[in-house]
Amino acid sequence: MSSINQIPVIEAKRGNPLSKVFDELVRFCRSRSLFILHYCTGCGAIELPPAMTSRFDMERLGIQPMVSPRQADILLITGYVSIKTLKRVILTYEQMGSPKYVIGICSCTVNGGMYWQSYATAKKLDEYMPVDLYIAGCMPRPEAVIAGLQQLMNRIQSGEANSWEDYFRNYDYYLGNQQKLFGDNWQTPTDIITEAKHYNLMGEGTFGEHTRLLEQHQKPLEALDMRLGHNLKEPTE
């Protein structure tokens, strides 16, 4: 998936003539109300407070910060992603409710940036999850961040920002890349394949050799122990 345009978009058939108006309204509301979860991994995080506070004020565009992945629509990755961080980023991404959008800020998310030679850094973010928008720069100014977010708003309104479906339709590709980094027994608490089946988001790339590998060792999900101070198990185990 080198380009977002290659993602197949399957139009659902809708019988009701009002459904088009309704879809239009929903898309408009989605574009005007964006809750961001900023996963501040690197130096790009420093550009977000000015973008949110009085100088550039993102709230006038309906964008506001949220603190939990469940509530958020946008995952902002602001800077380099080390392999250990990437695990958390993927867990966070999978917990978000669709439609969800990923924005990579800074050149580190595009190609590794100045950490290109590092052994512990994931170079390209879009190998591990579908990225809607990159905002390049080292670091991009708040104006650039807001311009990028406005571009995303336009794409959502016109119905083009569907790359979250790609994670379900081509899960095998993303899982393969994740397994390459984290080892063959990588498993996240969110069962993407069941979710894809449930929401009718299956594609040709949902299954493949990597998902077969996952199914071999996949453990069923259990409720976490509610005791505080208890050594919680790492989800990767």
Binding site: C29, R32, S33, R60, G62, V67, S68, Q71, Y199
Partner: protein, 298 residues
Amino acid sequence: MAPMELILELTLMPLIAFLVGMMMVLMMRRIAAKIQRRVGPPLLQPLYDIVKLHSKRTQISHGLIHDIGIIMAMGGYIAAETLLPVPGMNGIAEKGGIITLLYLMMIPSLGLALGVGQCANPNGSIGIARALTAMLAYDIPLVIVIFGVAYAAGTTNLVDIIAQQQAGGFAAWGAVEMPLLAIAGLIAMHASLGKQPFEIYIAPAEIATGPMVEMSGKYLGGLFVMQCFQLYTTSVLYVSLFLGGGTTWFDFLLKSFLVLAIPVSIAYLFPRYRTEDLLRLMWKWPVMLGLIGVAFVL
């Protein structure tokens, strides 16, 4: 009253409450923006948020009780709206009275506790434990205040309380006759809104919005709707008890928005208290003011 008319009123009152509540949410966010020298959200922002949250493709439920909890949280307030008289419409306020209203206003917190309990998120559990502690803190001054007002009016019927205040004009307003109770009521109302400095159970930086932490999509949307009702219920109850209700819609809305603007303006100037400080503060000052106010009334 004809049954059809009653059904119409019972449908209209929560709907009006929802619309006014959305404007109150907008006012709250605009005031926050003005205090922080920002522009603030556009006019229909609360509506966009609610429509967007309900139109999420994947809805993550944690089980039946989670679903029912959100319904309880909204339903408690929707039931409370039918007991709050607005100009021209009394609903079932004459039959219910303030005591029923007080009970109904506690249901949302309990519903939220049920729903959050099933999410099995430690942040949520801590948040809801704090929310119930906060309820314990502000309910005692609130009950004292409501007892004082009801004793002075000689009735627990909200329609009669409003009628008495309107008959006597400005001098008969609860806030003029019982200023101490009015001040105690304002503090209790501020705490019941859960805004800073009494924001112990949301606390985004500490427990990740507490009860809301596992809510996504329509569940969070339900809580956004609940917030609209919460703002409306709290301010209209205060207006009914102390500011003579409203003779016209203009009068009524002006008073409710002004009353709500006081705690909201204070809220964004302060950080928050810890739980024990909140309890100490709420059980000391508003209770003391309320008891002195009740002593004057008796």
